[in-house]
C-alpha cells in the first residue's frame, strides 16, 4: 500500500491530482466552519456583487455568497461521486466477473444487457431515468450509476476471461471450492486494480454528468448549491456577472481533471509490469 502511494507521489501530475482531491475532501468536511456565510441565506441588498474583500467570489442574484455556496457544493459533489462509485464498482465488477468466468449463455445474456445500456449516450440515458423518476439529487445519483456500470463490467469481464484459465483457479476448483468462492476469493482480488483505476477515472465523468444534470435542472434542486445548478442559474447574468459561472465552472474543471490525473497515475502505480 505504501509502495503504491510512493509511486503515486513520484509523478508530479498525479501528486497534483491527489492534492486537489485531498483539498476537496478537506473542504467538504470543514465547509460549515470555513464558509463565512450561510449558503442559503438571501440578502437581496447584496445581490450580484463582484468578487471583493467581503465576498471573495462575489454574490449571486439572491445575495448569497458564492464562495460559501461553492464550499457547501463540495459536499454535494463528493456525495454524488462516492455514492455512484459505491454502487457502480461492485455492480460492474460482479456482472463482469460472472460473465467472464462462466462464459457461454450467462456471458451472452449479461453482455447483451451491458451492450444495451452502453449503446445509449450516458447523459441522455440519465436524463431519461431522471425524467421517469422525477428530479432530485438522489434520483440523479441513481441515474448516473445506472449508466456508468457497463464500462466497469466490460473491463472486469476482460480480466476474468484471461484469468479463469490460470492454474491457481483450476487448483481452487479441484479443491472443491464452489463457483461463488472461486469468483469472490480468487478471481475478484486480481481484477480489482484495473477496475479501481477505471472507477477513479470514471469519477471525472460522474462530476461532469452530475453538473450536466444539475445544469438542466434535473439534478440537485434549488436552493441546493450544486455546482452545475449554480452555472445554470448564473447563466442569465453571465455577461455582467461572470463570477457566477466562472467560479463553479472552475471548480468542476479542477475536480474532474484531478480525478483524471489520479486515475492515470494509479494506472501506472498499480501496473506490475512498470519498472521505475
Amino acid at each position: 500500500m505504501s509502495q503504491v502511494l510512493n509511486k503515486l507521489l513520484r509523478n508530479r501530475l498525479t501528486a497534483v491530482g491527489l492534492a486537489i482531491i485531498g483539498l476537496l475532501v478537506a473542504l467538504a468536511l470543514l465547509a460549515p466552519w470555513l464558509a463565512s456565510a450561510d449558503p442559503l441565506r438571501q440578502d437581496l441588498s447584496q445581490a450580484l456583487l463582484p468578487p471583493g474583500a467581503h465576498h471573495w467570489f462575489g454574490t449571486d442574484e439572491f445575495g448569497r455568497d458564492v464562495l460559501s455556496r461553492l464550499l457547501h457544493g463540495t459536499r454535494i459533489t463528493l456525495f454524488i461521486v462516492v455514492l455512484v462509485t459505491v454502487v457502480v464498482g461492485p455492480l460492474g465488477l460482479t456482472v463482469g466477473v460472472v460473465a467472464g468466468y462462466f462464459g457461454g449463455r450467462v456471458d451472452a445474456v449479461l453482455m447483451r444487457l451491458t451492450d444495451m445500456v452502453l449503446s445509449f449516450p450516458s447523459l441522455i440515458l440519465a436524463l431519461a431515468f431522471v425524467a421517469a423518476m422525477g428530479p432530485g439529487l438522489d434520483h440523479a445519483v441513481l441515474a448516473i450509476a445506472l449508466t456508468s456500470w457497463p464500462a466497469i463490467a466490460r473491463l472486469a469481464r476482460a480480466e476474468a476471461l484471461t484469468l479463469r484459465q490460470s492454474d491457481f483457479i483450476v487448483v481452487a476448483q479441484l479443491q472443491g471450492a464452489s463457483n461463488a468462492r472461486v469468483l469472490f476469493k480468487h478471481l475478484v482480488p486480481l481484477c480489482l486494480p484495473s477496475v479501481l483505476v477505471r472507477l477513479t477515472m470514471n469519477m471525472a465523468s460522474v462530476v461532469l454528468t452530475a453538473a450536466g444534470l444539475g445544469f438542466l435542472g434535473l439534478g440537485a434542486q434549488p436552493p441546493l448549491p450544486e455546482w452545475g445548478a449554480m452555472i445554470s442559474e448564473g447563466r442569465r447574468y453571465m455577461l455582467d456577472s461572470w463570477w457566477l459561472v466562472a467560479a463553479p465552472g472552475g471548480a468542476i474543471l479542477a475536480v474532474s481533471m484531478a480525478f483524471n490525473l489520479l486515475g492515470d497515475g494509479l494506472n501506472d502505480a498499480l501496473d506490475p509490469r512498470q519498472t521505475s
Binding site: F168, V170, V171, Q173, L174, Q175, G176, N179, V182, K185
Partner: protein, 268 residues
C-alpha cells in the same frame, strides 16, 4: 510384469477405454482414443509422451476437469462420472465434488502460475481446509510445511518472495493437506533448474514412501519418469502405444518403435 500389473478390481486407479473429443464442428478432434491403464495402490505410474500426445488430458479427466469423456474410470473403487454425469467445474450451476477432492489432488507444472499471486502461503494452504470445513488449520499447515521441508516462517510469504523450488514445495504441500490417496503430477519439475529438480524429485520419492501415496506422473522426460515410477505408459497422438515396467525399459526391452526412439534420445 505380473506382480506390478494389478488386477483391475484391486487397482487404485483403473481407466478403461477413455476417449475424448475436444472442439466444436470443424475443429473437433479426438484427443484421447481408448486409453487403458491401471495403477496399484502405493505405486507410481508414469505417462510419457511429447506435446500433443494427450498425457495431460488424461490427468485432467481424472481430476474431473473434463466431463464429457467416454469410457470407465474408477478411483479407489468409486466410479468417476464421465459423459453426462454432472457439469464440469466452472460451469454455471456446477456443484463441486468434495469427495473427489479428498481423494485426488494435483500438482501443476508451472510453479509461478499455480499459486495465487495475492494469497500468502498460509492462505493458500488454509483454503482447501476451509472449503472442506476442517479444523486445526494451524496444526495441519505446520505439519504439511514440515513434510515438504519448508520453514514455518514461510507462512507469511507471498509467491513472489519465493524461489521456483520453494513455490513448487508449497504446491506439493497444498496438494497433500487434504490427505489424498492419489496425487496427479503434471510435469512437476520441468520448469525447475536441474539442481532444484533433484531436490523436488527426492522430496516426491520420500513423500510417497512415508505417506503411502499413489502417483500418476506425466512427463516428457524419461529420466524423471524412470526415477520416480515403477511402471510407465508411452503415449502418442492420444493413444497408449506401450505399457511396461521401468526395469524393462532400462534393460532395453521396449518393443514399440516410438518407445525405442524416446529411449535412444534419453540415452544419447
Amino acid at each position: 510384469m505380473s506382480d506390478l500389473n494389478p488386477a483391475l478390481d484391486e487397482a487404485l486407479v483403473s481407466v478403461q477405454g477413455l476417449t475424448l473429443d475436444l472442439g466444436e464442428g470443424q475443429r473437433r478432434r479426438t484427443v484421447l482414443q481408448g486409453v487403458d491403464l491401471s495403477v496399484a495402490r502405493g505405486q507410481a505410474f508414469g505417462l510419457v509422451g511429447e506435446s500433443g500426445s494427450g498425457k495431460t488430458t488424461v490427468l485432467r479427466c481424472l481430476a474431473g476437469q473434463y466431463r464429457h469423456w467416454q469410457g470407465q474410470v474408477h478411483i479407489d473403487g468409486q466410479p468417476l462420472g464421465g459423459h453426462g454425469a454432472g457439469k464440469r467445474p466452472g460451469a454455471w450451476g456446477a456443484s463441486p465434488d468434495l469427495a473427489l477432492a479428498r481423494r485426488v489432488q494435483m500438482v501443476f507444472q508451472d510453479p509461478y502460475g499455480s499459486l495465487h499471486p495475492r494469497h500468502t502461503v498460509h492462505t493458500a494452504l488454509a483454503e482447501p481446509l476451509r472449503v472442506h470445513r476442517l479444523g486445526d488449520v494451524d496444526d495441519r499447515i505446520d505439519q504439511v510445511l514440515d513434510q515438504v521441508g519448508l520453514p514455518l516462517a514461510f507462512r507469511q510469504r507471498y509467491p513472489h518472495q519465493l524461489s521456483g523450488g520453494q513455490r513448487q514445495r508449497v504446491a506439493i504441500a497444498r496438494a497433500l493437506i487434504l490427505q489424498p490417496t492419489l496425487l496427479l503430477l503434471d510435469e512437476p519439475t520441468s520448469a525447475l533448474d536441474v539442481s532444484v529438480q533433484a531436490e523436488v524429485l527426492n522430496l516426491l520419492s520420500e513423500l510417497r514412501r512415508s505417506q503411502g501415496l499413489t502417483y500418476l506422473l506425466v512427463s516428457h522426460d524419461l529420466g524423471v519418469v524412470a526415477h520416480l515410477c515403477e511402471r510407465l505408459a508411452v503415449m502418442q497422438h492420444g493413444v497408449i502405444v506401450e505399457t511396461l515396467s521401468t526395469d524393462a525399459l532400462c534393460a532395453g526391452d521396449a518393443r514399440h518403435p516410438y518407445t525405442r526412439t524416446l529411449v535412444a534420445s534419453a540415452l544419447a
